[in-house]
Amino acid sequence: MLKRTRALLASLAFGVLAAVAHAQGTGAAALPAPVASAAEAGSLDDRIQAAKADVISLNRDLMVLEEELLFPASTQVAVFVSMDVGLMFDLESVQIKLDDKLVSNYLYTPPEVQALHRGGVQRVYLGNLKAGKHEIVAFFTGKGPHERDYKRGTTIRFDKATDPKYIELQIKDDQNKLQPDFVVKMWQ
C-alpha cells in the first residue's frame, strides 16, 4: 500500500507541476525551452525564423516599391487623423475632399477610435497631387458634448511643392469653450 501511495503521490506531484504550468500560460516548466528540446526543434525553428525574416524584409521592399511607383515623393500627399485627448468628441466618421473631390469617407470602428485615443495616428488617405495651390476640406462627425450629434468642417489651402506633403487633421479638446477643436497641421 505504501509503495502504491508513493507511486500515486509521485504522479500527483507531476500533476501539480502540469497544473502550475497551465497557469503559466505557456505551459513551460520553470526554465523555458531547455537546451535539449531547443536542439531538437532548433533547426526547424531556426529555418522558420529565417523565412519569417525574409518574408518581412520582402514585404518592406514591396511596400517601398509600391509607394515609389504609385505615390512618388514629388506628387505624394498623405492625410493623417489624430486625437489629442479627444474626450469631448466621440469620433464616428471623417470625410475628406481634396480640391472639391471626395477622396476619403471613413467610418471608424471602436478599436480604431481606441487606438487614436492611445496615441495612434491614422493615415486616412495617400494620393498624388500636382505642384501648386490646393484646398483640403475635412468633415468630422460624431458625438459632441452631452452626447449631441456633432458635425464640424475645417478647410485649409496649401501649396504643394516637389516634396511629399503630410497633412494632419488633429482633434483636440478646447477646455475654454468646452468643445472639440479641429486643427489642421501641415508637416511639409
Partner: protein
C-alpha cells in the same frame, strides 16, 4: 514531537513545491511588449505604426515601421521605433532578430530609458530561449524603473529567472515589497510563497499559500490559482502523514475547476490514510465517472475497486476492476481513432478552424476540435509550450503564405502598370518634343531682353510715351502726320489757327501720357517680370523634358529590374514557406501523436495492474477454499 512534525511538514511542502514552477500572467508572452511610453507623437508615420499596433495588427505595424524607417520618416522616434520593432519581431517568435535589434540599440548608446527597455526585452528573449544566466545578466543592466506596467513585468520576470537559477531567497526578497503593495498580482503572491518555501522559509511560504487558499477570488484565473495553492498544500500534508489536515486543504478546491480531479483523488487517499476506505469511496466514485482522459480519473478507476476490496466487498471490487479494464480498452481504441485522425491532418485543420483571427490565444481549455474525435486526449499537449509555439509558427507561416500570394498578384499589376507607363511615355514623347521644339525660346528671350532694355530706358527718362497704348500711339502718329503737313505750309497764315490747335492737342496728349506714367510703369514692369518668369518656366520645362528623355527610360528600367528582383525573391519564398509549413505541421502532428502514445502506454500499465488485481482476487478466493468466485459481500479481499 511538535517540532519534529513541523520539520516534516516543512520538508513535505518543500518537496511538493520543488516541482512547482512559478506562475506568471496568462498572456505575458503571448503579446508583444507593453505599449511604448505615452508621449506626443511628433512624426505622423510613427503614429501610423502605433495605430496598427494598438489594434493588435502586428504584421502591418511591423512592415509600416520598416517602410518608414527606410524613408527616414521617423527621425524623432528612431530609438522608440527600434524598441517597438524588436518587440514585434519577438511576438513573431523571431528571437534571434529581436535580440540583434536590442543588442544594437544598446551598442549604439541609446538614451538610458530606451537602453533600459532594450535590456529588459533582451532578458525576455534570453529567458524564452532558456538562457536563464544571460537573462539575469541582462536584467542586471536595467538601471532605472521601467515605465508603467513594464516595471511590474520586469520584477516578475526577474523573480522567475532567480527561481530558475536557484536563488529563491533573492526572488522572495524581490517579490516581498511587490506583494505588500496594493493591487499586486495574485500570481506574484503565489510565487512569493513558492520562493519562500524553496528558500527554506517554509513557515512564511506555507502561510502565504494558505492565505491564497482562503481568499475570495473575483475571477477564474485567480480561483484557479487558489485551487493550485490548496492542492499543493494538501498533498504536502498528505505526504507528511497529516491526512486530516490534507482533507482540510483539499476541501477548499472547487469541484469544477482544473484542479478538482487532483483534489478528489488526494481527498480519497487522505481518507484511506485515515483507515476509512468507505469515506475514500465518496470522492473516488465521483472522480471515476469523470472524463477518462485525465490520469487522475484513470487512477480513480483503480482506486475504487481497491477501496471495495479494503471494505471486504470483493465481488464489487471484481466488477469494478472489470469495468475499469473495459474502460481502459475503450479509451485505448479512442486514442487510436484520435491518432488516425491526426495522421490524416485533421488536427491542424480543426485548430485553424478554431483560430480564424490573426492573433491566437492559448487554448488549454479546448474540449473539442472540429474533425478530431476524442480531442480531449490532446488537452495536455495542446497546453504545452512546445505545441503552442509550434502552432503559432504554423499560423504565422500560413498567414505569410497568403501574404505572398497577394503580393504575387500585386507584383503582376505593378509590371503591367509600368509597361503601360513606358508605352504612354514612348507614344507621347515625340508629340511633346515636337511642340517644345517649335517654340524658339532663344528668340523669345531676345525679344524679352529688348523689352527689358526699352523699359529701363523709359524708366530712366520717365518717358510716358513709351507706355502709350495702341490708341494713343495711333493718335501720336496722326499728330505727327498733321505736324508734317503743317510744316509744309509754314508760311500760310490761314493755317495758323490749325497749328495752334495742333499744338494744344499734342500738349494735351503729352500731359496725359506723363500723367499715366505713374500707373502704367509698374504694370509694364510686372508684365515684364511675368514674361521673364514664363520664359524661365518654359526653359525649365524644356530642360526637364530633355532630362526625362534621358532619365525616364533608365527609371523605367530600374523599376522593371526591381520588380523582377522582387519577383525572384517572392517566387523563391513561396515554396520555402510552404515546405516549412508542412514540416511544422508534421512536427506538431508528431508531438500530438507522441503524447497520445504515452497515454496509450499509461493505459496499458493501468490495464495490466487491473488484470493483476483481478487475478489476485481470484487467487485469494481459491486459496480461501471457495468455488473460485470471489465472495460478493463481507469477505476480506487482499490489497491490490
Amino acid at each position: 514531537m511538535r517540532s519534529s512534525a513541523s520539520a516534516l511538514t516543512a520538508l513535505a511542502l518543500a518537496t511538493s513545491l520543488a516541482l512547482a514552477a512559478p506562475a506568471r500572467a496568462l498572456a505575458a508572452d503571448a503579446k508583444p511588449p507593453a505599449d511604448p511610453p505615452k508621449h506626443p507623437v511628433v512624426d505622423p508615420h510613427y503614429g501610423d505604426v502605433l495605430f496598427e499596433f494598438f489594434q493588435n495588427h502586428y504584421f502591418p505595424a511591423l512592415t509600416k515601421l520598416e517602410v518608414s524607417q527606410h524613408f527616414e520618416r521617423m527621425p524623432h522616434h528612431a530609438d522608440e521605433a527600434e524598441v517597438l520593432r524588436g518587440g514585434l519581431l519577438l511576438s513573431y517568435g523571431m528571437h534571434q532578430q529581436a535580440g540583434e535589434v536590442f543588442e544594437q540599440l544598446i551598442a549604439r548608446g541609446a538614451a538610458p530609458s530606451v537602453r533600459d527597455r532594450a535590456w529588459y526585452f533582451l532578458a525576455k528573449v534570453r529567458w524564452q530561449r532558456g538562457l536563464a544566466g544571460p537573462a539575469l545578466d541582462a536584467l542586471g543592466h536595467v538601471e532605472h524603473p521601467l515605465p508603467g506596467q513594464l516595471e511590474e513585468d520586469r520584477k516578475l520576470l526577474q523573480a522567475n529567472v532567480l527561481m530558475a537559477t536557484g536563488d529563491n531567497a533573492g526572488a522572495a526578497a524581490l517579490l516581498t515589497p511587490m506583494v505588500a503593495s496594493k493591487g499586486a498580482p495574485l500570481y506574484a503572491r503565489y510565487n512569493l510563497g513558492v520562493a519562500q518555501v524553496r528558500a527554506g522559509d517554509t513557515a512564511r511560504g506555507a502561510k502565504a499559500l494558505d492565505e491564497i487558499g482562503r481568499m475570495g477570488m473575483p475571477n477564474e484565473e485567480q480561483r484557479a490559482l487558489r485551487d493550485k495553492a490548496n492542492v499543493a498544500l494538501g498533498f504536502a500534508a498528505l505526504r507528511d502523514g497529516q491526512p486530516q489536515q490534507a482533507r482540510a486543504f483539499l476541501e477548499r478546491v472547487r469541484l469544477d475547476g482544473l484542479e478538482s480531479n487532483q483534489a478528489l483523488l488526494g481527498f480519497g487517499w487522505a481518507a484511506d490514510a485515515m483507515k476509512n476506505p468507505k469515506l475514500a469511496l465518496v470522492p473516488w466514485v465521483e472522480l471515476a465517472g469523470r472524463d477518462p482522459t485525465d490520469s487522475a480519473v484513470l487512477e480513480a478507476q483503480l482506486a475504487v475497486p481497491y477501496a471495495y476490496a479494503e471494505l471486504g466487498a470483493s465481488g464489487q471490487a471484481l466488477d469494478r476492476y472489470n469495468v475499469a479494464i473495459a474502460n481502459f480498452e475503450h479509451e485505448n481504441s479512442n486514442l487510436d481513432a484520435t491518432i488516425a485522425a491526426i495522421r490524416q491532418g485533421k488536427l491542424l485543420e480543426g485548430l485553424m478552424a478554431r483560430n480564424p483571427g490573426e492573433q491566437i490565444g492559448w487554448f488549454q481549455t479546448f474540449k473539442d476540435i472540429p474533425l478530431v474525435p476524442h480531442a480531449r486526449h490532446l488537452t495536455p499537449v495542446l497546453a504545452g509550450n512546445e505545441f503552442q509555439e509550434g502552432f503559432k509558427n504554423y499560423r504565422d507561416l500560413m498567414f505569410m503564405s497568403h501574404n505572398l500570394a497577394d503580393w504575387r498578384d500585386q507584383l503582376g499589376i505593378f509590371g503591367d502598370m509600368l509597361a503601360t507607363r513606358r508605352q504612354g511615355f514612348a507614344e507621347r514623347l515625340p508629340a511633346v518634343s515636337t511642340k517644345a521644339g517649335a517654340m524658339d525660346i532663344n528668340a523669345l528671350q531676345q525679344r524679352s531682353d529688348a523689352n527689358a532694355a526699352a523699359l529701363r530706358e523709359a524708366q530712366s527718362a520717365q518717358d510716358g510715351a513709351a507706355f502709350a497704348d495702341a490708341k494713343e500711339r495711333d493718335l501720336r502718329a496722326r499728330l505727327e502726320r498733321a505736324q508734317a503737313a503743317l510744316d509744309r505750309v509754314r508760311d500760310d497764315p490761314s493755317v495758323a489757327d490749325a497749328r495752334e490747335r495742333l499744338r494744344r492737342v499734342k500738349g494735351a496728349l503729352a500731359w496725359q501720357l506723363a500723367h499715366e506714367y505713374a500707373t502704367r510703369e509698374p504694370g509694364a514692369r510686372a508684365q515684364q517680370a511675368d514674361t521673364e518668369a514664363a520664359l524661365a518656366e518654359a526653359r525649365a520645362h524644356g530642360e526637364a523634358l530633355a532630362r526625362a528623355q534621358a532619365d525616364e527610360p533608365a527609371r523605367f528600367e530600374a523599376f522593371a529590374r526591381r520588380i523582377a528582383d522582387l519577383d525572384t525573391r517572392l517566387q523563391a519564398l513561396v515554396p520555402r514557406v510552404a515546405a516549412l509549413s508542412q514540416a511544422q505541421a508534421q512536427a506538431l502532428d508528431d508531438l500530438a501523436i507522441a503524447s497520445l502514445t504515452e497515454q496509450k502506454a499509461r493505459l496499458a500499465g493501468y490495464t495490466a495492474q487491473a488484470k493483476i488485481a483481478v487475478a489476485q482476487l481470484y487467487d485469494r478466493a481459491t486459496e480461501s477454499g471457495g468455488d473460485g468466485e470471489p465472495a460478493k459481500e463481507g469477505d476480506h479481499a487482499a490489497k491490490p
